[in-house]
C-alpha cells in the first residue's frame, strides 16, 4: 500500500473537492418541491409576561399558510437537559420547561413566541412583523450576583434563579478548607471567563417534511449530532416514534458545540410540515444566531492555591458562578460541573481539590458547551493562579509547574479531582515547548521590541483535558441521562468496495478521509475504495455525534472493532475457499494466505464469495460481509500540552499583539498529522480570540449589544500569527485500540491562559505591577490595568 495513505500519513482530504468547487450541500442549499418558509417572531425584551399575541393581521397577509404560537405547543414536551446534577444538599437541580415556543413568558431577547409559515421567506418575514405581541416588560435579570438574590425570577414556578449548588469533591471540602487555612502561602485570584458566541460560519437551518401516506417525518438540519436530536424529539419533545423520524445532517458549516443541541426551531418545522403537508424550511440569519445559538463559558470564579514553604501544591479551592442563561440547553448542566470540576487538579500531584459551582438562570441566551466546554474554564483558572503564585513567591513559572507535575512513572494516576489519568509526560512536553518556542532567542526579541517602544512578554501554560467522555457506566452514576458510546457498521459490498457507517458527524474534522485511512490500513486495501456514511439516522445504526474531541477515540474505536469482526469473518470465508484451517489464515496487504504456503485469495475475491455463497457451509458461515460494533470506552482520554505565547504590548495604547504562539500537544498516536495540525490551529485562533477580542455583552436591560460582526470581534487573519505546532511527544492512550486521545479542543483550552500570562509578564517587564487583566485583554482593559497599577 502506498505510504501516503495509511495510518500516520498526511493524506489530502477528499471532501475538499466538493467544498472548493461550490458543490458542498449544506442544509440551506437543499431545495424541495413545494417548499415553504418559516420565520420566527422573537422577543425584543429580556423578561416579559405575554398578555396576548394577536396573529389575525399576519394570517391575512399574502402567501401566509399558518401562524403558530406557544399555545399550539402546550401539550408538547419540553427540550430537556441531558445531565441531572444534584446540589450539595442532595436536592436535584431545578429543571424548568423549555417549550418549543415561549408560552406565558418570554425569557431572553430572541426567545421565539410565534412562527409564520408562508410561501416565501419574504412573505413570512413581512407577516411576522405584522404580529402584535402584547408583552408586559419586566425587570431583566442579567448579573449573576443580582440573580442569586432572587428578587425577580426568570422562572416563577421554581421559586429561585439558582439551578443547583454543586460541590466536588464534597468529601474533600473540610480538608481543603483546613489545608488552605494552615498553608505557608495562599495565592488568590478572582477572574471572569468571558461569555462567547460560537459563531459557526453557517447559521443554523432546519427543513421539516412529512409523508402522510406513511406517517414518516424527515428533518434535515445543521446538527453535529443527528441521533441525539432524533432521540430528544422522539422521547421528550414531540413523541414522534423514532422509527417514524429520520434526522439528516448533510454538510454542516462548523459547529464548535453550538450544533450539538436540539433547538425548538427543529420541532416547529416538523409540526408545520405535518399540519400543512408541505416541506418547511427555516434558515437563521446571523442576528438570530447571536440571539439564540447556545453561548459558551460565562463563569465568574474565585480560585485559591495553597502551597507549602517549598512551593509544593497543597490544595486548589474554587468558587464559581456559571451562567446557564434563560433555559437549560442539553449539556448545560454537565459543562460547568463534570467537564470543569473534574479537571481542577490539572497536571499536578496536588492532594486536595474542592470546587463549588452555583449555576444561575438569567434573562440571556442559553449557555452550553463551546469548544473545550468546562475544560478551558478549568485550565484558565488553574494556570492563571499558578502564574500569579510563582510571581508572589519569586519562583520561575515553569520550574514551579515542573516541581508539581505528575511524573511519567506515576501512571495510572488518580487525580485529586476524581479522574484516573492513564498516560502522559508533562516534562517532555515542556522540554519540547522550550525548544520549539525558541527560548534561546527570547532575550534578543525583548531588545528588538524595546527598540520599537513595545513591551514583550512571555507566558506559558500546561494543560490536561478529558476527551471521549465516557464510560457509560461512570457517566450514568454522575447523572448523565444518555450513554456515551459510539457505533459503526462496516459494509463490504460484493464488488469489494466498502461503505462505513459512523455515528460521529464530520463538519470540518475530515472523517471522510481519516476513517478510510484506518480501515484501509487494517484491511490492506486502498482507502479510495472506502466511503464514509455519516449524518443520516436512517443509514447508521446509532451514534452520539461529534463533540468533546471524541470522534476518533470513541467512534474510531467502534470502526476498528467492526473492521476486526470483518477480518475474522473474511478469514473464515478465505479458509473455506482455500480449504484450510481458519487459524492458519493470515491477512497481509489485502490478501488472505495460508500460513507458510503460497495459497492465497484476495480481499475482493472473499468479498464476492460472501455474497455469492455457492458451496458455502451455511451452518458455519452466514452469507454477506457486514459487521457492526458499539464501543463504550473504559475511561476518558487525557490529551495534555505545554504552550507558550509571546506578546508585544504597546504602552501608549494598551494594544496587544500576539507575536509567537507555540503549542506542543500530546494527542497519543496521530492518524493524519496534517488534519491534527489544522485542528490545533483552529483551536488556537478561538482561544486567542477569547483572550484578546471576543466578548458577549448584555446591557442592564438584557439587550445583547454584541449581536453582529460589527460589535462582536471575530478574530481576523490580521489579528493572528503563524503558529508553531508540534505533536511529536505523544504517549499513546492505554485503553483504546488506536492509542488516540483527541485533538479538536486542545488549542482553545491551552491558549487563553497562555496569552494572558504573557500580557501580565509584558506589563511587569514594563514596570507595571499588574497581576491580572480580565479577558478580553482589549486595549481598554490593558490601559485600565496600567493606570491602576
Amino acid at each position: 500500500m502506498p505510504k501516503d495513505t495509511g495510518i500516520g500519513a498526511s493524506t489530502k482530504r477528499r471532501e475538499d473537492l466538493r467544498y472548493l468547487t461550490g458543490k458542498g450541500r449544506y442544509t440551506d442549499d437543499i431545495r424541495a418541491y413545494g417548499e415553504c418558509a418559516a420565520v420566527f417572531a422573537r422577543s425584543t425584551v429580556a423578561n416579559g409576561k405575554i398578555i396576548g399575541i394577536d396573529t389575525s393581521e399576519a394570517e391575512k397577509m399574502p402567501g401566509v399558510l399558518a401562524v403558530f404560537t406557544g399555545e399550539d405547543f402546550v401539550d408538547v414536551g419540553g427540550n430537556p437537559a441531558g445531565w441531572l446534577i444534584n446540589s450539595r444538599n442532595g436536592e436535584p437541580m431545578k429543571e424548568p420547561k423549555r417549550p418549543v415556543l415561549a408560552h406565558g413568558k418570554v425569557r431572553h431577547v430572541g426567545d421565539a413566541y410565534a412562527a409564520v409559515i408562508a410561501e416565501t421567506e419574504e412573505q413570512a418575514r413581512d407577516a411576522a412583523e405584522a404580529i402584535i405581541a402584547d408583552i408586559e416588560d419586566l425587570p431583566a435579570i442579567v448579573d449573576m450576583r443580582e440573580a442569586l438574590k432572587d428578587e425577580a425570577l426568570v422562572h416563577d414556578e421554581i421559586g429561585t434563579n439558582q439551578c443547583f449548588d454543586w460541590g466536588w469533591i464534597e468529601d474533600n471540602r473540610a480538608a481543603t478548607d483546613e489545608a488552605i487555612k494552615n498553608a505557608h502561602h495562599v495565592t488568590t485570584l478572582e477572574l471572569v471567563n468571558n461569555r462567547l458566541v460560537p459563531n459557526a460560519m453557517e447559521p443554523r437551518c432546519s427543513i421539516g417534511s412529512y409523508n402522510p401516506a406513511t406517517d414518516d417525518y424527515v428533518l434535515q438540519t445543521t446538527s453535529q449530532n443527528p441521533h441525539l436530536t432524533r432521540l430528544l424529539i422522539s422521547a421528550f419533545v414531540m413523541g414522534i416514534p423514532e422509527n417514524k423520524l429520520t434526522v439528516i445532517a448533510p454538510d454542516v458549516g462548523g459547529g464548535f458545540g453550538s450544533k450539538i443541541y436540539h433547538y425548538g426551531e427543529e420541532a416547529l418545522v416538523l409540526a408545520a410540515a405535518k399540519k400543512l403537508g408541505r416541506t418547511v424550511k427555516w434558515t437563521a440569519d446571523r442576528s438570530e444566531a447571536f440571539l439564540t445559538d447556545a453561548h459558551g463559558r460565562d463563569h465568574v470564579t474565585k480560585i485559591e492555591l495553597a502551597m507549602d514553604k517549598d512551593g509544593n501544591f497543597l490544595a486548589f479551592r474554587t468558587e464559581t458562578m456559571a451562567n446557564v442563561g434563560a433555559y437549560l440547553s442539553n449539556f448545560s448542566t454537565a459543562t460547568p460541573t463534570f467537564l470543569h470540576g473534574t479537571l481542577m487538579a490539572g497536571n499536578y500531584t496536588v492532594p486536595l481539590v474542592y470546587v463549588n459551582v452555583k449555576t444561575v438562570f438569567t434573562n440571556t441566551a442559553p449557555v452550553d458547551a463551546y469548544r473545550g466546554a468546562g475544560r478551558p474554564e478549568a485550565t484558565y483558572s488553574l494556570e492563571r493562579v499558578i502564574d500569579k503564585a510563582a510571581r508572589e513567591i519569586g519562583r520561575d513559572p515553569i520550574e514551579l509547574r515542573r516541581q508539581n507535575f505528575i511524573k511519567p512513572d506515576q501512571y495510572p494516576y488518580a487525580s485529586a479531582a476524581g479522574l484516573e489519568y492513564d498516560a502522559g509526560n508533562y516534562d517532555a512536553l515542556m522540554d519540547k515547548m522550550e525548544e520549539v518556542a525558541d527560548f534561546a532567542g527570547f532575550d534578543a526579541r525583548v531588545k528588538e521590541s524595546d527598540a520599537k517602544g513595545l513591551w514583550r512578554g512571555r507566558g506559558v501554560n500546561a494543560y490536561i483535558e478529558a476527551c471521549g467522555i465516557a464510560p457509560s457506566n461512570l457517566v450514568g452514576q454522575l447523572g448523565s441521562r444518555v450513554g456515551l458510546y459510539d457505533a459503526a457498521t462496516v459494509r463490504v459490498n460484493a464488488t469489494g468496495n466498502l461503505s462505513v457507517m459512523v455515528g460521529a458527524h464530520s463538519h470540518g474534522q475530515g472523517h471522510e478521509t481519516v476513517f478510510p485511512q484506518v480501515v484501509g490500513e487494517m484491511l490492506g486495501i486502498d482507502p479510495a475504495s472506502i466511503d464514509i456514511v455519516h449524518g443520516d439516522t436512517s443509514k447508521i445504526p446509532f451514534g452520539m455525534g461529534t463533540y468533546g474531541s471524541r470522534s476518533l477515540a470513541v467512534c474510531g474505536s467502534a470502526v476498528v472493532r467492526a473492521t476486526e469482526k470483518i477480518i475474522a469473518k473474511a478469514k473464515k470465508i478465505a479458509a473455506h475457499m482455500l480449504e484450510a484451517s481458519e487459524g492458519d489464515i493470515e491477512l497481509k496487504d489485502g490478501n488472505f494466505t495460508v500460513a507458510g504456503t503460497d495459497k492465497s485469495v484476495g480481499f475482493g475475491e472473499v468479498a464476492l464469495k460472501a455474497y455469492i455463497p455457492h458451496n458455502f457451509p451455511i451452518e458455519d458461515i452466514e452469507p454477506g460481509l457486514e459487521e457492526t460494533a458499539f464501543y463504550d470506552p473504559a475511561n476518558f482520554t487525557y490529551p495534555s500540552g505545554a504552550y507558550c505565547c509571546e506578546v508585544e504590548v504597546d504602552p501608549e495604547t494598551g494594544k496587544v499583539r500576539v507575536d509567537r504562539m507555540t503549542a506542543v500537544d500530546d494527542f497519543g498516536n496521530v492518524i493524519n498529522p496534517m488534519i491534527v495540525t489544522g485542528q490545533v490551529h483552529g483551536g488556537l485562533a478561538q482561544g486567542i480570540g477569547q483572550a484578546l477580542l471576543e466578548n458577549t455583552h448584555y446591557n442592564a436591560d438584557g439587550q445583547l449589544e454584541t449581536a453582529s460582526y460589527m460589535d462582536y470581534a471575530m478574530p481576523l487573519a490580521e489579528d493572528l500569527p503563524m503558529y508553531h505546532v508540534d505533536h511529536s511527544q505523544g504517549t499513546p492512550c492505554t485503553h483504546n485500540p488506536l492509542g488516540v486521545k483527541g485533538c479538536g479542543e486542545a488549542g482553545a483550552i491551552g491558549s487563553p491562559p497562555t496569552v494572558v500570562n504573557a500580557v501580565v509578564d509584558a506589563l511587569q517587564r514594563g514596570g507595571k505591577n499588574v497581576t491580572h487583566v480580565d479577558m478580553p485583554v482589549s486595549p481598554h482593559n490593558v490601559w485600565k490595568a496600567m493606570q491602576s497599577a
Binding site: D16, A200, M201, F256, G510, I675, G678, A717, M722
Partner: protein
C-alpha cells in the same frame, strides 16, 4: 465539416431551454457577437466580428430555430456572410437531456464554407469551428441566466434561490463575513451588498466557474487542498474568490499583504494559518520558510 459533441451544463433543462431562446443570452454567448435582434419565432439577425486564421471580417447572419420540441430538442440553421471573406452556412441539431440538477447538451453541427474561408483549408476551419463551439458553450455555461427579481432581491439571493447556484454562501447580515464573495465584471464584490438588478448586464464570476475546463481544481483551489486551507468548507468559496482577486491585483503578496486583504473574510475553523499558506503557495512562493509546523 461535421462537429458533434456534448456538454454538461450546470442548470436544469428548463433553464437551459429558456436560455437557448433568449436573444440576450445568445448574444453574450456567441463569441464576437456585436448585435443580435429578433425572436425565436421569426429568427435572429446577428452581427459577429471574428478572425479566422488570417481572415478578419464582420459577418452578418441569420439564425432560424425549427423542429422545436420543448424542452428537449431543436434545430438551428444559419447563414453568415462576411463579404469578401466568404460565407458560412450550416445547421445544428441540439438535444437536451436531464441529469439530476444538470443538463447534458448534445449537438451535431454540419457546416459549409465558401470564399476565402474555404481557401483556408479544412484544418483551420475545423479548429475554428471547434473553438467557436467551445467558446459558445463555455460562455453559455457562464451565462445561462436571466430572470425577473423583486427590487429587494440581493445578488446572493438571486444566485442561490433563482439560479440554484448554492456555492456562494450567506454567513452574516452585515457584509462582514465574506462567504458570499463573487466577482462582478472582474472586481471582488460581496454578493450581499448588491441588489440583483444592479448586476443586470454584468459578468458575474462565482465559485462554480473557478475550476479548470476539465473539471480539475485550479491553482488556488489546489493550493487550498494541498495546504489544508479549509475545514468545514463554508467560508471556502468566498476565500477562494477573494484569493483570486488578490492574486490578480498582486501576484506575489507578502504574508502581511495576504492577511490584510483577507480582512473581509472570516473563517472560524482554520485559524487562517493554512489559508495564508495556501494563497502564498498559489502565488508560486515557497511557503516552507514562512511557517514552522
Amino acid at each position: 465539416m461535421n462537429l458533434s459533441d456534448s456538454r454538461v451544463l450546470d442548470a436544469d433543462v428548463a433553464t437551459v431551454w429558456a436560455a437557448l431562446l433568449n436573444k440576450d443570452v445568445l448574444q453574450t454567448c456567441v463569441p464576437g457577437c456585436k448585435d443580435m435582434t429578433g425572436n425565436p419565432d421569426d429568427g435572429f439577425d446577428a452581427t459577429v466580428v471574428q478572425k479566422v486564421g488570417p481572415v478578419k471580417a464582420t459577418f452578418k447572419g441569420t439564425v432560424i430555430l425549427s423542429e422545436m420540441k420543448e424542452p428537449s430538442s431543436l434545430t438551428l440553421t444559419g447563414e453568415g456572410k462576411g463579404g469578401a471573406a466568404g460565407f458560412a452556412k450550416g445547421g445544428a441539431d441540439v438535444r437536451l437531456e436531464p441529469q439530476g440538477d444538470q443538463t447534458i447538451l448534445h449537438y451535431d453541427v454540419e457546416a459549409k464554407v465558401g470564399g476565402k474561408l474555404a481557401q483556408l483549408g479544412s484544418r483551420i476551419i475545423d479548429g475554428f469551428a471547434k473553438k467557436m463551439a467551445d467558446q459558445f458553450f463555455d460562455n453559455f455555461q457562464q451565462k445561462p441566466v436571466s430572470g425577473e427579481v423583486e427590487g429587494r432581491t440581493l445578488l446572493v439571493q438571486f444566485l442561490r434561490e433563482d439560479l440554484h447556484m448554492t456555492g456562494t454562501h450567506v454567513g452574516c447580515d452585515t457584509s462582514q463575513c465574506g462567504a458570499c464573495q463573487v466577482h462582478v465584471n472582474g472586481q471582488p464584490v460581496k454578493a450581499c451588498t448588491m441588489f440583483a438588478i444592479e448586476a443586470d448586464g454584468a459578468e458575474v464570476g462565482t465559485i462554480e466557474g473557478q475550476a479548470n475546463a476539465d473539471g480539475s481544481l485550479n491553482v488556488i483551489q489546489q493550493a487550498f487542498q494541498d495546504h489544508h486551507g479549509l475545514q468545514c468548507g463554508f467560508c471556502t468559496p468566498g476565500m477562494v474568490m477573494t484569493a483570486a482577486a488578490l492574486l490578480k491585483e498582486n501576484p506575489t503578496p507578502t504574508e502581511a499583504e495576504v492577511r490584510s486583504y483577507l480582512k473581509g473574510n472570516i473563517c472560524r475553523c482554520t485559524g487562517y494559518h493554512n489559508i495564508v499558506k495556501a494563497i502564498m503557495a498559489a502565488s508560486g512562493q515557497d511557503v516552507g520558510a514562512i511557517a514552522a509546523e
